[in-house]
Every structure is written in structure tokens, then in C-alpha cells.
Symmetry: C2
Amino acid sequence: MTDNKKQTIVALDAEGVILPEIWIAVAEATGIAELTRTTRDEPDYDILMKSRLAILDKHGITIDKIQAVIAELTPLDGAKAFLDELRSITQLVILSDTFEQFAQPLVKQLDWPTIFCHQLHIEGKRIADYQLRIADPKRKAVKAFQSLNYTVIAAGDSYNDTTMLEAADTGFLFRAPANVQQEFEHLPHYESYSDLLSAIKENI
Amino acid sequence: MTDNKKQTIVALDAEGVILPEIWIAVAEATGIAELTRTTRDEPDYDILMKSRLAILDKHGITIDKIQAVIAELTPLDGAKAFLDELRSITQLVILSDTFEQFAQPLVKQLDWPTIFCHQLHIEGKRIADYQLRIADPKRKAVKAFQSLNYTVIAAGDSYNDTTMLEAADTGFLFRAPANVQQEFEHLPHYESYSDLLSAIKENI
């Protein structure tokens, strides 16, 4: 056999990269200001999530209602065309810390790319609880793909992406806030899908 | 957190399950009878593949020509609707022993589900060689998904699927030949997409 490149898979963050920030969009769409709190306001994720679910309960927002709200959202401008081209040249898995039930109405608009994320526990139509699939899921997925002899190219925008970006064979920041760019200045940073796509193509 | 089910991913074989047998279809479409030889005729896969590539060379069939032939093929009847529904309810990765460049024109017709397979080495437009990504790729992919805390449901039709089916949390045969059904009679066997989909839904 000739000495050729390994096969490639792209691991892509969802919110901020191809999808809007779902909780913030839901807060805006429902007019429930309390839902705009994030881990910047409440660093304990479990406390934050429990309070979010209590807020949903208080306002009678069941899973069908929140999915209807999310179905009115759209992927970020240009994300669909970016993913269509990306999926025509390499493999793609979305790695996200959102929940399958929240992602579903948005992922549908992108023609169902595979997404590894977490899940909500639904009782009837009530969102009873949430369940994280695994700790440090993005980095572990990258390592799993590498164990299958894939070269992994990863892109994300946030702190929760950086273990994935560091574990990947190539890691890119995309539309990251200034503090993340500064702290991870060794990672190339892109603002446009065309620049990110070009950088990915150079590494395939 | 409530004690709830784990998240699920479906691992699906391609040829014979959602796609036609690509080499046989190419042999028929090109009229090159020698290409109909399979591992049943030549059990040494490397000898078989080398002879296939030599036949392509002899007939001047470059990668663009073979992709044009494959683009005229279609997924199996009903496969697109089956995958569309499957992708709306769980995650899906196709696990195949074909090559990315052969799968591409067919996977496009299915809206780019993620596929883990092998690759061809292309020099100019000539298919110079092939490269298996890893040994026992299907079983290893199933184990990798399980290591990410997924429950894996797998379905396939051939001997090369059986290590994947045995490693999965749930394994199904789909349109398997009689000898495979007999040897693996502990695996449920389905002939229709609706029956397979029902069985998958019962395990999600």
C-alpha cells in the first residue's frame, strides 16, 4: 500500500458554531427572563439546571411546548451550506453539551447530522430531570475516534470545547470570545465558515 | 436524577441493508464480468482487491468514471424513508467495509449520514491502492460508542457484521442469507424496514 493520509472526521461544537445558544433563545422566545442565567451567573451546573427545570415547571412549559419554541429557531446563517459542503468531503459528528430533545428540532433543519450530547428525562410531557451521558464527553469522543484510526479535526467556541480542541489532531477556535482566544492563542481562530472550511480542507 | 435509560446509537451496515452491493452493481453497470468475483470466489481479500484494481486499470476506469457509475445507483427501495425516521428518533452511524469514495455518491442521496468505512488511494484520477482503516472496524466502533456510554443497537446482513452484532447491546440480522441466519439463530431476523424500525424502537 502507498503511504497515504489517514481518514478524517470533523468534531464540531453546536451552540455558537452552527446553532444559536438554545437556553438564551428559549428565554427570549418565552419572555422568561430568569432563563437567561448561565454558568457565568451560577457556576454550579447542577444547581443551574435544577433551577432552569423548576422555572419551566412553574411556567407550565412541557417538552412539547419547548420543542415548539425551538422549532421556530433556525441554525446560524450559513451553517446549513457549510455543513452540506463539509459532509460531502469528510465525516462529521457534532459534539454538544445540549440535550437530544432540545437539539432535535434544529438538527432536523440540518438534515440530521449525527450529534453526541446529553438527554432529558421526560415523564409524560414534563421535563423531570436531565442526565449527562458522560463526564468530559467531547474529549472522550475525540479519543474514541482516534482509537478507530481517524485523524480528528475539531472546532468550537467555548471553554467546554478546549479539552476537545487540545485532544484533536487539529483544533480550531470559531467565533470564540476574546478571553478564550487569548488563553488559547496557539489555536487558529476563524470567524467565517469559508475560512473554517478552507482550514479543514488543508488538513484532510 | 431519576433512573432512566441510557442514550442510544444505531450502528447499521450499508451494503445489503440500505445500499446495493457496490462492486456487483459496478460490474453490471460497466459490463465487466470479472468484477463480479467476491470473497466467495477469492477468500483472500487483499488478492481480490488487488485484482479488482488491476481490472479497473485495464479498462481505464478511473475514480471519476466509477463515481459516475455509482451515482446512477440508488439506495435500496425504502431505505431513505427508513433512515429519515430512524435519524429523527435516535443517533445513527453507518459502519461499512466499503470505501469513502465509493459510498459518497450513494450517501449523498441519503442526506449524508455519518459513515465509518475505508478509503481508496487516488493518484491523479487512478485508483492506485486501497487502505483498510483498522482491523475489525465494526466491532471496534461499537465498543467505542459503548465507551462513550451509549447503548448500541446494530443491524447487518453478513458474516462481517456478526462481531458487531455480538458486541452490540442489541443485534439484529436484516435480510441475511439462510446460512448466516442459521449460524446466528439467536439474533432476531427481519426482512422489512418497518419490522426493523419497530424492533429498534422497542430497544430505545
